[in-house]
């Protein structure tokens, strides 16, 4: 268990991690028409799906301490995201008949420059269907997504454990886990939607120039999470002191 004030800071840190993680997860709504690189859905909702899977996985280890909860959340989230990437690429390869390719890298607009995948060294130019901005998830974006999911899952699990610690003295154990899960899911959804204003529906993860706008997400998530954390702290303190139960 952690002190309520430290738990409040953990909620803020978790919220910021969740917001920042969305920048690393490659997603694009037009990916559903194989017209842009990234997982074929909005970055916010995809991150929410991955993060909630992380919280689900972390809940099994809630009695085993903070470190295990955070790591379980992180790897659970990464597992969900990488399975989604693999199956998305299977769909692209055998359902559409096209290879995964990074549109930003192919046009030389990637964060690190050049037209090659920075990890595998595969040339991207010429592999995108004409008239599209790439399709699927090439290896570099898959790694970026895995990294983002690790961050998001860890952030969600951090909030989950913090709320669990704060409310445990006031409520019975079986209810407090569910309550902490609801609050953590709420904090996750708030913070995963905020980056949508910076990403405007599409990102290729850390290889997209939009990663340079991450400070905006950081500040907005910091402010929002601070307000949310203060509200949670106040409600929990009132509950523990039996003013409200």
């Amino acid at each position: 268990m952690v002190d309520p004030l430290i738990a409040t800071i953990m909620i803020i840190a978790g919220g910021v991690l969740v917001g920042v993680c969305v920048h690393f997860i490659p997603a694009s709504a037009t990916g559903a028409m194989a017209a842009a690189t990234g997982i074929a859905t909005g970055p916010s909702m995809l991150s929410a799906g991955a993060g909630l899977t992380g919280i689900y996985a972390a809940a099994y280890s809630i009695d085993s301490g903070l470190a295990l909860v955070i790591v379980s959340g992180a790897v659970g989230s990464a597992l969900m995201l990488l399975i989604t990437i693999l199956c998305g690429n299977i769909m692209l390869a055998f359902g559409i008949g096209a290879p995964p390719v990074s549109g930003q890298t192919a046009s030389g607009k990637s964060t690190f420059g050049g037209t090659k995948d920075i990890i595998t060294g595969f040339e991207q130019e010429g592999y995108a269907s004409p008239g599209t901005d790439g399709h699927g998830m090439p290896f570099q974006t898959a790694v970026s997504g895995g990294f983002g999911a690790l961050m998001g899952g860890a952030g969600g699990a951090l909030v989950f454990y913090a709320v669990y610690s704060m409310t445990l003295p006031a409520i019975s154990t079986e209810n407090v886990v569910t309550l902490a899960g609801i609050v953590a899911a709420g904090v996750f959804l708030i913070n995963s939607v905020l980056p949508a204003y910076v990403l405007v529906g599409k990102t290729e993860g850390m290889f997209d120039m939009k990663i340079r706008s991450m400070h905006r997400t950081f500040i907005s998530c910091l402010v929002t999470s601070s307000i949310v954390a203060c509200v949670i702290y106040a409600v929990c303190e009132l509950a523990v002191s039996e003013v409200i139960v």
Partner: protein
């Protein structure tokens, strides 16, 4: 006994998740929900009058979370009142899923009518057959999705021992299956089924978006035929993704060789193996399809 319950729970949860994935993708495609909905919405604006069921109540994750949570909450309340043996859980889940399907039908009808009405300026007609024919099919898939997710939530809570309550688990599964369904199955509907008159082997250029197939093999294409087509590949891969996720997550908890850290170690190894598969698939597709040439 605990080990048997865990083994049974792992197998059952994986199977239920697989079925839920197949049904969820089919429900989404029968109603043109989620991302490819933009294409159906765009079609009248470039002169393509269509007969698709255009039901996008919200993004796929929140919509599925709503159906699953509604069904699971009703089922949970019923089992709390009438007892929680396996038969009661099944009957309660069917009643819960039926109630959430009524909600889906109500939202689906209103959503379709209002979306088509908003296209009045582009001379899109509100065809009653394009609403009334696919609606029962869509509702049936919605019912099955909600039922599978409710049963999955009960399995995860009772057999796998997740400490979250059943409705919250259903909410989590609803969000996750929506995210997976719109990330995998949607590609097959959005880039292949809606654009079958374009050559296979290419993404859909942004300049032709909205130019969807309005005529099918026989007469006008409708949303009843869509799941028949997409279930053979898109639905299966969606089911595979969600089924593998739930199965592997539960499977990782069957081992105890490193104490409480066992599951984390197993999942980390699985993550690395999946990364290798992603790499191998990319190598295969690059060799198989190659570069796009001018012709």
């Amino acid at each position: 006994m605990a080990a048997i319950s865990l083994l049974l729970g792992t197998a059952l949860a994986g199977f239920l998740a697989f079925l839920a994935g197949v049904f969820e993708d089919s429900e989404s495609n029968a109603g043109s929900a989620s991302n490819p909905n933009s294409q159906v919405q765009l079609a009248p604006q470039i002169g393509n009058r269509h007969r698709y069921f255009n039901k996008a109540i919200s993004g796929e994750p929140p919509a599925n979370a709503l159906w699953a949570t509604t069904a699971a909450t009703i089922a949970y309340l019923l089992t709390a009142h009438f007892g929680g043996d396996a038969f009661s859980v099944l009957v309660a889940s069917i009643i819960g899923a039926a109630a959430s399907t009524l909600l889906l039908c109500a939202y689906g009808v209103l959503s379709h009518i209002s979306r088509i009405a908003s296209m009045k300026n582009f001379e899109q007609t509100l065809y009653w057959d394009s609403l009334l024919t696919p609606l029962p099919l869509d509702a049936a898939f919605g019912f099955l999705t909600a039922l599978m997710l409710t049963l999955l939530a009960f399995s995860a809570h009772s057999l796998l021992g997740n400490p979250f309550s059943v409705p919250l688990l259903a909410f989590f599964f609803g969000i996750t299956i929506g995210a997976i369904g719109s990330s995998t199955g949607d590609i097959y509907y959005g880039a292949e089924r809606l654009y079958q008159h374009y050559i296979f082997g290419s993404g859909i250029p942004i300049s032709v978006q909205g130019d969807i197939d309005v005529k099918g093999e026989y007469g006008y294409r409708n949303s009843v035929d869509t799941p028949y087509f997409t279930m053979r590949f898109g639905g299966l891969v969606t089911g595979l993704a969600f089924g593998i996720l739930i199965f592997l997550d539960a499977w990782s908890r069957l081992f105890t060789f490193a104490g409480v850290w066992t599951s984390v170690i197993v999942v980390s190894v699985l993550v690395l193996i999946i990364l290798i598969f992603i790499y191998l698939l990319e190598v295969y597709t690059r060799k198989r399809y190659g570069r796009y040439t001018e012709d």
